[in-house]
Each structure stands twice: as structure tokens, then as C-alpha cells.
């Protein structure tokens, strides 16, 4: 993953978090801003969340605060790295503080590498400890960003940056990259400065001691020397060093610079690069944590696919034939619509007493049969019992409609007091009444209100 890709991915996470933080305190005004890209549901959710964040960063006017904060961060890094270079030069100059140009080799080594190695090992140890609170580096970032960009919206930017770093466990790695770069620059400028000093000035290295005897010192120098022997750079022994021969001094000077480059810059550079690659891999594999409050509620909206009308309703006005309902007729009849209904005893008794049962009307053939029967002599009234647990449709309405020319009075009776489709039946029969007849010729009765009489 290149630096650019890493930056983009991290920025995405940060921008999504920024909007989440802001919306925690400021409710989004409406649904369209909650999920402005509902039509893009085939895009990954992370992409959709990022697109949404980009829209809302502008909408909430957070873009200026964000870009200013990024600039502040860059400036802070620049300052930190500039200081590293200056400190490095300072460190090299500190070595050269003796008027006699006599340098104690162990002292110089300790000054140049001692603190760096101490900090390095502390860093290594800290890597295995998870901080409970936000770490020192995040406090520095917070203070720094607030110093450079002190406005309420920038607070959200800082808050979201720190949350992104801690929530996705990137803070430690990022801090590692920054600190190793810092030390690398410091030690690099130090070694460069020292090389320049050694190039143009003459120094004498000594190995002095008050308490150690010669064999111990020799042993120590052998140990030190072996640390670079794998590179073919050797440290002269103590006796040779104490003889102060110029070619030996040059050898020691070169050895010292290589030591600084390898165990100073080298260690920091390698660790920094490892940290950077681990960070890049982690960021590359990161997905937005969508279970977080403020994001989880958006997911159902983003998962919804867009619906599209394929075959539109033509709204053709279908002219139905106006049936001629007879004014008079003979006999009262009872029909059951669509199927033999399980009527209550009371209702069945009333129907049988008052009407002559004609059975079920379910098909067009049934209607034809009835048309043949009543064609010459229409009925005075037909009671049609309707199962209002079933929906009205064009088919059963066609049957009811077909009965109108066969009777002077049509009585529609909805058999269930609280059928699933009572309202629908009321609507369609009332429409039938208004379109084709007067209220006196079609009667509609609900089971709970009336009897079939």
C-alpha cells in the first residue's frame, strides 16, 4: 500500500468519524441527508458511508476546519522534524565542547547513542502494554491542534482524529512512525555533523579510566569492536588508542560514525519502516466499524436497493357496461359468493326462511346459468352473502355486477363481523351503488349491524 493510498484510506475513516462525532451533538435535519446515496446500494457500505460523509462535511461546513486541521498537523510534524534536525546538530556539537579536542570514546558513545537506545527500549517495552487512557502522543496532538486551530468545529476534527486512532488501534503505530522518524532525523543530522567535524578538525580519542584495569578495558573494547565487525569495521584496541597514533585516531573516528549510522539511524530507520508497513497493512485491511452508535442506524438505509417501475399503470379508463336493473321481479333468492360459506346458525336460518337458496356463484358458468334462469323473469330480490375474509377482485365483482340485470333488489351481506377485507368490500360496493344503481336497488349490510331480512 503506497503512502498515498494509506493517506486516502485513513482520511476516509477520519471523515466518516468526523461526521459521526458531529451528528452526536447535532441531529441530522432529515432523511435525505442521513442517506443521500440510497440509489448506490451496489457500492460497498464503506464507500457509501464515505460518500455520505463527504456530502455532510460540506453540509455541516466542517470542510474548512478539517483542511485547517490537516495543515496544522503537517505544520506540527514539520516543526517536530525540524527540531529533530536541529537537536541532532546540537548533539554533535555537544560532543565537541572540549577545548583540547580530546574526546573520551565511551563518553561520546554514551552521549550519542545512550539516550536514543534507552528510549528505544522503553518504546519496545511500551508496545506490550495497552494504555488505559489516551496516550501522551494523543494529548500532544490534541493540544497542538487546538493551539493552531482554536474553533468549536475544529474540536470535532480533533476528537474524530483521536477516536479514529484509538478505535482502530492505529495510535501506537502512528506514534511509532513519528518517533522513529524523529530519532532517525536527529541521529542522521548528528552523524552528518560529526562527519563534517571529523573531516575538517583533528580530534584525539582517549579511553581513560580510574578504576578499571587494562585487561577489563581491553575486553570492553573488544566487545564494542565486535558490534561492527560483521561490517568489517574494527575498533583498535585500547593500547593502540592510548598510543594516540593519527591513523588509529582516524580509524576510531570512522568507527564512531559507522556506529552512529548503524546503531542510531539504522535501527530507527528499520523500526520506522517496519512500523510504517504494519500500519499500512492494518489500515488497508480496515473496515469502518459500522456497529458504532451513529453509524449502525444508517446501515439499513444504505442497504436498501433502489426500486424502479418497469411496467407502468396506463390508467386506461375502463368503461363498464351500464346494466339495466329491472324495476320489478318475482321471488327472493339467496346466493353464496365464491364458496359454500360457514354461516352462523342464526344467519343461515334467517336466510333459509326468507330466501330460496340457489347455492354458490363462483364462476362465469354459474353466472350464465343464473342469467338463463332469470332472463325471462327477474327476481324481486337476491341476497348475496359475501365472505369478507376474502378480498374483492375484478372477478368476484364481475359476478356481482352480472347479477344486477337479474334482480330488482340486490342485497350484499358481509358475513364476518370483522373480516380482513370489510373496508375494501364497503368501498367497492358503495362504488357499485354510486355508479350503477340507486341505494334502494342495492343494499349493503354488515354482519354486525343488521340481519339478512
Amino acid at each position: 500500500m503506497g503512502t498515498q493510498q494509506f493517506k486516502q484510506k485513513f482520511l476516509k475513516l477520519w471523515q466518516i468519524e468526523l461526521v459521526r462525532c458531529y451528528e452526536h451533538d447535532h441531529k441530522p435535519p432529515n432523511v435525505s441527508t442521513i442517506a443521500p446515496n440510497q440509489t448506490n446500494s451496489q457500492k460497498p457500505l464503506d464507500t457509501q458511508l464515505h460518500e455520505r460523509a463527504l456530502v455532510l462535511i460540506k453540509y455541516y461546513k466542517l470542510d474548512t476546519a478539517l483542511s485547517k486541521s490537516i495543515a496544522s498537523l503537517k505544520l506540527m510534524l514539520l516543526l517536530v522534524f525540524t527540531f529533530a534536525l536541529i537537536f541532532g546538530v546540537g548533539l554533535a556539537k555537544a560532543v565537541d565542547n572540549s577545548a583540547t579536542r580530546e574526546l573520551s570514546l565511551p563518553g561520546v558513545l554514551l552521549a550519542l547513542l545512550g539516550f536514543h537506545l534507552l528510549m528505544y527500549f522503553i518504546w519496545l517495552a511500551s508496545f506490550f502494554v495497552r494504555p488505559k487512557q489516551s496516550g501522551i502522543s494523543s494529548n500532544i496532538i490534541k493540544q497542538g491542534m487546538q493551539f493552531f486551530n482554536p474553533n468549536p468545529k475544529a474540536n470535532y476534527v480533533t476528537q474524530s482524529l483521536l477516536h479514529t486512532l484509538s478505535h482502530y488501534q492505529l495510535g501506537k503505530l502512528l506514534a511509532a512512525c513519528i518517533t522513529h522518524t524523529y530519532w532517525f532525523l536527529l541521529l542522521f543530522s548528528s552523524s552528518l555533523m560529526l562527519s563534517l567535524l571529523f573531516l575538517f578538525q583533528s580530534y584525539t580519542f582517549t579511553w581513560e579510566t580510574t578504576v578499571l584495569d587494562l585487561p577489563v578495558m581491553n575486553h570492553l573494547s573488544e566487545l564494542l569492536g565486535s558490534s561492527l565487525s560483521w561490517l568489517g569495521v574494527n575498533l583498535p584496541d585500547v593500547t593502540a588508542l592510548q598510543a594516540a597514533e593519527p591513523n588509529i585516531q582516524a580509524k576510531v573516528g570512522r568507527w564512531l560514525i559507522v556506529m552512529l549510522v548503524v546503531y542510531g539511524c539504522g535501527i530507527r530507520l528499520i523500526t520506522g519502516l517496519i512500523s510504517a508497513s504494519v500500519l499500512a497493512t492494518r489500515v488497508q485491511n480496515l473496515e469502518v466499524d459500522k456497529t458504532q452508535p451513529g453509524l449502525s442506524n444508517l446501515i439499513p438505509l444504505l442497504l436498501r436497493g433502489a426500486a424502479q417501475t418497469i411496467d407502468k399503470d396506463s390508467s386506461v379508463n375502463k368503461q363498464t357496461e351500464q346494466p339495466n336493473q329491472p324495476n320489478l321481479g318475482l321471488g327472493d333468492y339467496w346466493l353464496e359468493l365464491e364458496h359454500a360459506q360457514n354461516l352462523s346458525e342464526q344467519l343461515a336460518e334467517q336466510a333459509i326462511t326468507r330466501y330460496k337458496a340457489l347455492g354458490v356463484i363462483a364462476t362465469l358458468t354459474d353466472l350464465e346459468r343464473l342469467t338463463d334462469q332469470f332472463n325471462m323473469q327477474p327476481a324481486a330480490s337476491i341476497l348475496i352473502t359475501i365472505d369478507n375474509q376474502l378480498t374483492p377482485d375484478r372477478g368476484n365483482l364481475r359476478l356481482i355486477h352480472g347479477l344486477l340485470p337479474l334482480t330488482a333488489h340486490l342485497h350484499c351481506y358481509l358475513i364476518h363481523p370483522q373480516g380482513n377485507f370489510t373496508e375494501s368490500w364497503l368501498a367497492v360496493i358503495n362504488q357499485l351503488i354510486s355508479e350503477h344503481a340507486t341505494k334502494s336497488t342495492i343494499r349493503l349490510t354488515l354482519a354486525e349491524y343488521d340481519h339478512v331480512k
Binding site: C21, K43, I310, L364
Partner: protein
């Protein structure tokens, strides 16, 4: 392998719940229009089933078949000696006719779409008897020569499925799927997709991917809702306020403010949970819940509300209507003896004595500390968990209101109570006044608590 999305037409008689069925499959309570009126859907509407970023299937919601008897008779007119065994050809002839444009416009749309689809999902309302018109519908659909999967909708304990299953078997349809758009589970969807695989083996890989994505989404919903609840519990149990103990009116005002902030936090969590399950504020299906405009009717400091959930008020809390009910007042160590006081001074530096040191600090500065009572936490926990449970077992398509009984259905175990109590002094963990907190210990705690809550919920959802 199928290299294009599988196309499925959702067909059936009017008002059998085709759109509701699609809402459930699409997890979109706003798809199409649903009502008890017939012919609600008059157009063919396309929707997509997506797994991650891949369009697995295109679903077509079609108008209801309404006049199948007349259409079936009418179709006989197009049968000739040449096409008597070629149903699609007969249907094509019909589609070209004037009747398809006027008398059977709605049915023509269904047939046209079916001819362009890979398979048909025939939705049946199992509450209705097997009528001849439904069999006519099936006969017409079978003429399209596409695999048909009957979907037996609105199943419940009283449903008589046998008449339908027998009728379907008579026309060689043995692969019906039980489905209830009112209360569905992943198992229903899995069975449906398995039948789709059986009917269209070529689409197996993509449908399996869809199934996996569905499983992931279900897990996500539950985890996200639980996470919201765990966050709320941590926010409330660690929320602490210090006020001047000598000023009674200030204490009262602070109590009121404390209460309102906790209530707001709970309502925000409630809205989040509803949104995770695809509900928006003002949704008519929420009208029977004890919720108005995203707020619980009875707040969590109401001792009457505690009773329903089996939460006992401690002896100190008798007057439910008083401002202080549900708020634990830590009186700044007024009752601390000298020994404890010294112990507190010594131990104030380490974690375990945070409570005493805070009380001591309050005592020295003349403050009173406020914190939510354990009953309030239990109330919040139980109520939200009951809501999550109700939402988990409910279909997305259900047009009836969500039903929620606030009863003592959950027993909050001591481990959870202890866990919540253990963080009461982590006052920097509460987000009630702060937008975002970066604390890894808090994050770990929420994770652990979430797992415990999930366990509690799973135990209650599973039969």
C-alpha cells in the same frame, strides 16, 4: 454458473401479500405500497437483492391477478393445433391482443413479466380457502413454462396448509415454501432461497453468497443493537454529578437535569435501536409501542414503570414522583469514620479506592455526588432488551404495529449487575456530556458487556 442476476417475478392473487413478501426479502419497510385494498400494486416494480456489492437477483413485484377465470376462458381462444402444447406462444398471442391492453391489462403485465423472468414466486394467502379462481391462476402461470415456487404466506398455528399443499401437489408443485411476512426469521428466507437453488441450480453460487450476506446482516443488526445498549449502560452507570450540598434548590435542579440527561440518552439509544432494525420515527407501525416521537412514555426513573418489569424499589425510594427517585445521592462521606478517612487518604491513589477518594473530595469541598440507582440501570437494560427481542422476531413487512409487552421477561443476572456497579466510579467514561471518549478500557468493557447481553438475549429469543 449464472453470469447475470437471477430474475424472479413475484406473482399471485391480489391482496395475498406480494409486496409485503418483497419488503421482507428486501429488508425495506418502505418498498411499494401495502394496504388491505385490492389492486394496490398496479405496476411492475423492480427491486434488487444485493450481497455486499453484487446484484444477485432482480425481483419484480407484479400487480395481483384478479380476473383469472375470465382470462383462463379467454386464453382458450388463442389455442390452436399448432400451439396447443406451447403455452408461452399462446401467452404471446394474448399479449398482442387488444384485450391484453384493456380488459386484462393488469394480468397482461404479470404474464409479460413472467415470460421475461427466470422463475416465479407464487404468493398464496393461506388464510383463504382453495378456490377455483386460484387454480385458474396457477394454470395460466404454468403456461409460461417457468419454474414456480409457491410461497405459503401468512402462516400461523391455525393455518390449514394441507388443502393448499394438496391442491398444489395436484399440479405437480411439491416445493412450496412456508413464509410469514408478519413474523419472519432467517430460517424462512433460507428455505426460500434453497428452493430457488433447487429450481435454478445454475444460480447456486450466487444464491449461496446471498444467504451468507443475509446471515451476516442479521448478526450485524443484533450486534449493533446490543452495542448501542451496552454504550448506554456504560454512559449512565458512570455518569456522576457533584453539586453544592448546602444549597437545596441547587441540588433539586441538578437532580432534574441529571434525570433529563439520562432520559435523553436512553431515548437516543431507543431511536438508534429502532433505526438499526429499519424503523424511522413517525412510522405508523410504532404507534402501539409505549413510545411517542422516539421517547418512552414512562421514563426510567418512574418507580411505577419499574414494577411492570419486576424491579423492586429500595426502601429509601418510596415516593415515585419525587425528583430524587432513582438517583443515588452520595453524601460526601459524612458517615465515614476516622479510620476509613485515613484509609481513604492513603488508598486514594489506587484504583480500588476511587469511590472513597471521590466521596472524600466531595466532603472536603462540601459537595453532594449524584449517580443513577441500580434500579434505573436495570430498567434501561430490561426495557431495551425487550424491544430488541420484539424487533428480532418481527418481519420487516408487517404492516401491523409492533407489539411489545413490558413485562418481567428477563432476569438480569448478578454478574451483569456487578459488572455495571464495578465501573460506577469511572466517571470519565460517560458520554452523556461529552461527545466522544477515547478510552481503550471503556471500549473493552463495552465489548465484554455486549457479549453478556447478547447471551442473555439469545437465551430468551431461542425457543
Amino acid at each position: 454458473m449464472l453470469n447475470k442476476p437471477l430474475t424472479m417475478s413475484v406473482v399471485g392473487h391480489t391482496n395475498t401479500g406480494k409486496t409485503s413478501f418483497l419488503r421482507t426479502l428486501l429488508k425495506d419497510p418502505h418498498f411499494g405500497e401495502v394496504s388491505a385494498r385490492p389492486s394496490t400494486t398496479r405496476e411492475v416494480i423492480r427491486a434488487q437483492l444485493i450481497a455486499e456489492t453484487e446484484i444477485i437477483a432482480e425481483l419484480f413485484d407484479t400487480p395481483g391477478l384478479e380476473d383469472s377465470q375470465a382470462l383462463y376462458l379467454h386464453l382458450q381462444d388463442y389455442i390452436t393445433l399448432e400451439n396447443k402444447h406451447n403455452g408461452p406462444a399462446v401467452l404471446q398471442l394474448f399479449l398482442g391482443s387488444q384485450e391484453a391492453k384493456i380488459d386484462f391489462e393488469q394480468e397482461a403485465k404479470v404474464i409479460r413479466q413472467l415470460l421475461n423472468s427466470d422463475l416465479a414466486l407464487f404468493v398464496i394467502d393461506t388464510r383463504t380457502p382453495v378456490l377455483e379462481k386460484y387454480l385458474d391462476e396457477l394454470a395460466i402461470l404454468r403456461m409460461a413454462a417457468k419454474p414456480i415456487i409457491p410461497v405459503l404466506n401468512f402462516i400461523n398455528k391455525e393455518s390449514e396448509l394441507l388443502p393448499w399443499q394438496t391442491a398444489l401437489a395436484r399440479v405437480n408443485l411439491h416445493n412450496s415454501v412456508l413464509f410469514d411476512t408478519q413474523s419472519t426469521s432467517l430460517a424462512h428466507e433460507t428455505r426460500l432461497l434453497e428452493q430457488c437453488i433447487a429450481a435454478m441450480p445454475i444460480a447456486r453460487d450466487s444464491l449461496v453468497r446471498l444467504l451468507k450476506a443475509r446471515e451476516k446482516q442479521e448478526v450485524f443488526k443484533n450486534t449493533a443493537a446490543i452495542h448501542l445498549l451496552a454504550e448506554l449502560l456504560v454512559d449512565v452507570s458512570t455518569y456522576q454529578v457533584a453539586v453544592d450540598a448546602s444549597n437545596e434548590s441547587e441540588v433539586m435542579q441538578a437532580q432534574l437535569k441529571f434525570k433529563n440527561l439520562v432520559i435523553d440518552a436512553e431515548n437516543q439509544c431507543l431511536q438508534g435501536i429502532l433505526a438499526v432494525f429499519g424503523f424511522e420515527l413517525g412510522d405508523a407501525r410504532l404507534e402501539q409501542l409505549p413510545i411517542t416521537q422516539g421517547s418512552w412514555h414512562q421514563h426510567s426513573f418512574d418507580t411505577k414503570a419499574w414494577q411492570n418489569l419486576g424491579i423492586e424499589a429500595s426502601t429509601g425510594i418510596v415516593a415515585g414522583g419525587t425528583v430524587g427517585a432513582g438517583i443515588d445521592l452520595l453524601t460526601g462521606g459524612l458517615s465515614l469514620g476516622a479510620g476509613t478517612l485515613i484509609g481513604a487518604l492513603v488508598g486514594g491513589v489506587y484504583q480500588g479506592s476511587k469511590k472513597i477518594s471521590r466521596q472524600l473530595q466531595a466532603k472536603l469541598t462540601g459537595k453532594v455526588l449524584m449517580q443513577a440507582d441500580s434500579q434505573v440501570l436495570e430498567m434501561i437494560l430490561k426495557r431495551q432488551l425487550l424491544l430488541i427481542k420484539a424487533l428480532i422476531i418481527r418481519g420487516h413487512a408487517a404492516i401491523e404495529p409492533v407489539h411489545l409487552e413490558l413485562t418481567n421477561a428477563f432476569t438480569v443476572n448478578q454478574a451483569i449487575k456487578k459488572q455495571l456497579k464495578s465501573i460506577s466510579q469511572e466517571t470519565s467514561w460517560s458520554r452523556i456530556l461529552v461527545g466522544s471518549i477515547n478510552n481503550s478500557e471503556r471500549a473493552d468493557f463495552i465489548k465484554t458487556l455486549g457479549l453478556k447481553l447478547e447471551k442473555l438475549l439469545t437465551a430468551s429469543v431461542l425457543p
